[in-house]
C-alpha cells in the first residue's frame, strides 16, 4: 500500500467501469479495466494486479471462469460484483476462490471498505511460512501448540473441533467463507451437504465467544452463503 495498489476491474458495463475507475483512482489506486473475462485474464497475466474486482455475468469468459483461471495461477484477492438473485452463482464464485462479494447496486464506500480489507489480508505477514505457534488477531490470542485461547484477555475452553473451526476463522478473517468451504476444510469432502454440523458448532462457538448472542460481532452470518469472521480490534 505504500506504492499504489493495482486493481483490475472486469465488467462488461462501460459506464460502471468508468465510474469505478475514477472512484478508485481518486483514492490513490492504480486501476485498469477489461470488458470481459477473456480480456480480464489477459490483463491479469500482463499486469499482475494486487486485486481483481469482477462482474459475474459477462460475455465470452464469465466471472466464474475468470475466478477459476486466476486461482489456478495466483492467490491475489478477488472481489465479485453480484446482483440479488444471483446467490447460487455468488456461492459458486466464492467456492472457486473469490474472497468477497459486493451486491449491486452498491455505494463506493462499501466497495472501498472491501477493497481495503482484502488488500490488508493479502499484505498481512505470511503466517503460513514457518508454522507459527502463536496467532494474534484482534481480540484473539491463540497458542496453537498448547491449544489455549484467550478472548479479550480471558481464557476460554473449546472442544478440539471448536478450536479447529475458530483457528480456521482467524486465519481467514474478513473473508467470506461458504458453508462448503468450511465443511470441506474441517470435516472433509464427504460432509459438504451437512450444513447443520456447521450450524451447531458455530452456535456453540458463539455461546463461548460472543458478548451478546443476539448481535454476534465476531462470527457474522452471510445469509444463504456462509460466515465471515471479524476478529475485532
Amino acid at each position: 500500500m505504500t506504492d499504489q495498489a493495482r486493481i483490475l476491474i472486469v465488467d462488461d458495463e462501460p459506464q460502471l467501469t468508468r465510474v469505478l475507475r475514477m472512484g478508485l483512482k481518486s483514492r490513490g489506486y492504480d486501476v485498469r479495466a477489461a470488458a470481459d473475462g477473456l480480456a480480464g485474464f489477459e490483463a491479469f497475466t500482463d499486469w499482475h494486479p494486487d486485486l481483481v474486482i469482477t462482474d459475474l455475468a459477462m460475455p465470452n469468459v464469465d466471472g466464474l471462469e475468470l475466478c477459476r483461471r486466476v486461482r489456478a495461477v495466483s492467490q491475489v484477492p478477488i472481489i465479485v460484483l453480484s446482483a440479488k438473485g444471483e446467490e447460487k452463482t455468488k456461492v459458486e464464485a466464492l467456492d472457486l476462490g473469490a474472497d468477497d462479494f459486493v451486491t449491486k447496486p452498491f455505494g463506493i464506500d462499501e466497495l472501498l471498505a472491501r477493497v481495503r480489507a482484502s488488500l490488508r489480508r493479502a499484505n498481512a505477514p505470511a503466517t503460513n511460512d514457518k508454522t507459527p505457534t502463536i496467532l494474534d488477531s484482534g481480540d484473539f490470542h491463540v497458542d496453537l501448540e498448547s491449544r489455549e485461547i484467550t478472548v479479550r484477555g480471558k481464557p476460554i475452553h473449546l472442544t478440539p473441533k471448536e478450536f479447529d473451526l475458530l483457528v480456521y476463522f482467524i486465519k481467514h478473517a474478513g473473508k467470506v467463507l461458504t458453508h462448503r468451504t468450511l465443511l470441506t476444510a474441517l470435516w472433509g469432502g464427504n460432509y459438504v451437504e451437512q450444513n447443520e454440523y456447521l450450524r451447531v458448532f458455530v452456535g456453540n462457538l458463539r455461546k463461548k465467544l460472543e458478548p451478546d448472542l443476539a448481535i454476534p460481532r465476531y462470527i457474522l452470518t452471510e445469509p444463504w452463503i456462509g460466515y465471515r469472521f471479524d476478529p475485532g480490534q
Partner: protein, 400 residues
C-alpha cells in the same frame, strides 16, 4: 297401452327381458314348435333333410342369441320333434328304419355342434367388443392424463418464462442504477470531504464532471428502459393507440434521421426514397420510432465510416416498403426471427461478439409491434452482396 305412451321404455323392457337366459329356452321351444307346425302344414311327406335343416336354423339362431345351453335344449327338443312328427312311424318316438336312426343321431350331433360353435363365435365377438371398449376407455384415460400433463408442463414453462423475463428486466434496471449509485456516493464522499482508510480522496474537476455525465446518461437509460417496458406492455395488451393520419414518407424518415443524427455522425448515411410515393395513412410518430430504432441499431452494430442506407419504395399496389441496411457483421439466419423476441439480445443471448454493450432487447420487439399494429410485416435479410443486415418492413397505404 304403456307401449304406446312410452315407446322407449317399452323397447328397453323388451330388450332386458329378451336378454334373460330363460327367454332363450322359451324362444327355443316356441321356435322349434312353430317350425314343426309350419312343416307339418306343408305336408307329411316333407323331405327329412329339409326338416332337419329348418330345425337346425332354429338351433343356430338360439345359439347366436342366447348361447350354448339354450341351444343344447333347442337341439334336444328339435330332435324329439323331428323323431315324433317326421320319422315314421309318425306320432311315436319309435323309429322303424335303421337309416332314420342314423339321420336322427346325425341331426342331434350336427345341431349340438353347430349350436356350440355358433355360441362360441358369439362369445368371442362379445369378448372382442368388451376388449375394444376397454381399450377405448384406457385410451381416453391416457389422453386425459396426457392433456393434464401437458397443461402442467405449459404452466411450468410459462412460470420459467416469467422468471427469465423478470431476471432480464431487473438486470436492465439494476445496471444503470449501479453506475448511478457508485457515482453519486463518490461525489457525496468528495463533497463531505471525508477521508477514510489510507487512501485520500482526490477528485479533479474533470472526474466530477464525468461522474455527473454518467449519472445523467444512466438516468436517461433507465427512463428509456421504463418507457420501452410501458410501450411493450401496451403492444402486448393490444392497447397501442395508433393515431392514424395521412402522412408523407419523406417527413417520417426525416424526423427519425434528425433524431438519430448524434448516433450516425460517424457513419455515411444514404437516403433513397422513391419519387412520387403516395401518402400513407399511419401513426407517423410510431413509424418514425420504428425507423429510428432500425437506424440506431445499424449505427450501433456497424463500424465507423461504414455505410447506412435508408430506403423507401412502393411494394405492389397497396403497400410501401421501407428498409434500413448496414455493413456490420450481420445476423445469422437462425437468429433473424428471435431478435424480434422481447429482451432477446443477439450480442448476449445469441453468441455474437461485439465491442458494443447490448441494448435493452426491446427496440425490435416494439418495432415489430408497431408494424404489425399497422397490418404490415417486418423481417431481416442480408445486406447487398451478403454483407451486413437489412431490416425491411411494409405498411399498407390505407384506403380512407
Amino acid at each position: 297401452m304403456s307401449s304406446v305412451l312410452i315407446p322407449g321404455y317399452n323397447v328397453l323392457m323388451r330388450r332386458s327381458v329378451l336378454d334373460q337366459r330363460w327367454a332363450g329356452y322359451v324362444v327355443a321351444a316356441l321356435g322349434v314348435l312353430a317350425s314343426t307346425v309350419v312343416l307339418k302344414l306343408i305336408g307329411n311327406h316333407v323331405n327329412a333333410a329339409t326338416v332337419s335343416l329348418a330345425l337346425l336354423l332354429n338351433v343356430l339362431f338360439i345359439a347366436t342369441r342366447w348361447g350354448s345351453l339354450p341351444a343344447l335344449a333347442a337341439s334336444i327338443f328339435a330332435m324329439l320333434c323331428f323323431n315324433f312328427f317326421f320319422l315314421p312311424p309318425f306320432g311315436t318316438f319309435n323309429i322303424a328304419a335303421t337309416d332314420n336312426w342314423v339321420a336322427l343321431v346325425a341331426f342331434l350331433i350336427t345341431a349340438v355342434t353347430a349350436g356350440e360353435l355358433s355360441a362360441r363365435a358369439t362369445r368371442r365377438a362379445e369378448e372382442a367388443e368388451v376388449g375394444r371398449l376397454e381399450i377405448e376407455r384406457l385410451y381416453a384415460e391416457l389422453r386425459d392424463a396426457f392433456e393434464r400433463a401437458s397443461h402442467a408442463e405449459a404452466l411450468r414453462q410459462s412460470e420459467n418464462l416469467k422468471s427469465a423475463l423478470l431476471d432480464a428486466v431487473t438486470h436492465d434496471l439494476r445496471t444503470p442504477l449501479t453506475s448511478i449509485k457508485a457515482s453519486i456516493t463518490t461525489l457525496l464522499d468528495e463533497a463531505r470531504g471525508r477521508v477514510d482508510g489510507e487512501a485520500p480522496l482526490a477528485l479533479d474537476a474533470e472526474s466530477k464532471m464525468e461522474m455527473m455525465e454518467v449519472i445523467d446518461e444512466e438516468s436517461d437509460r433507465l427512463s428509456r428502459f421504463i418507457n420501452g417496458l410501458i410501450e411493450l406492455a401496451q403492444i402486448e395488451a393490444g392497447e397501442l393507440q395508433l393515431r392514424r393520419r395521412w402522412g408523407v414518407v419523406d417527413e417520417i424518415i426525416s424526423a427519425a434521421l434528425l433524431r438519430a443524427e448524434p448516433l450516425t455522425r460517424q457513419h455515411h448515411l444514404e437516403v433513397d426514397i422513391e419519387k412520387d410515393l403516395p401518402g400513407v395513412r399511419v401513426d407517423e410518430r410510431a413509424v418514425s420510432e420504428v425507423v429510428y430504432t432500425l437506424v440506431e441499431n445499424a449505427a450501433k452494430y456497424s463500424s465507423q465510416d461504414s455505410m447506412i442506407k435508408v430506403a423507401a419504395q412502393r411494394a405492389g399496389e397497396e403497400s410501401i416498403q421501407m428498409s434500413v441496411e448496414d455493413e456490420g457483421q450481420g445476423i445469422p439466419v437462425e437468429l433473424r426471427e428471435r431478435v424480434f423476441d422481447k429482451f432477446f439480445r443477439a450480442t448476449r443471448d445469441g453468441d455474437i461478439s461485439t465491442q458494443q454493450p447490448s441494448g435493452t432487447g426491446m427496440g425490435l420487439a416494439i418495432a415489430k409491434g408497431i408494424v404489425e399494429a399497422h397490418e404490415g410485416k417486418i423481417w431481416i435479410e442480408s445486406g447487398a452482396g451478403g454483407i451486413g443486415t437489412r431490416v425491411v418492413f411494409t405498411l399498407p397505404i390505407g384506403d380512407e
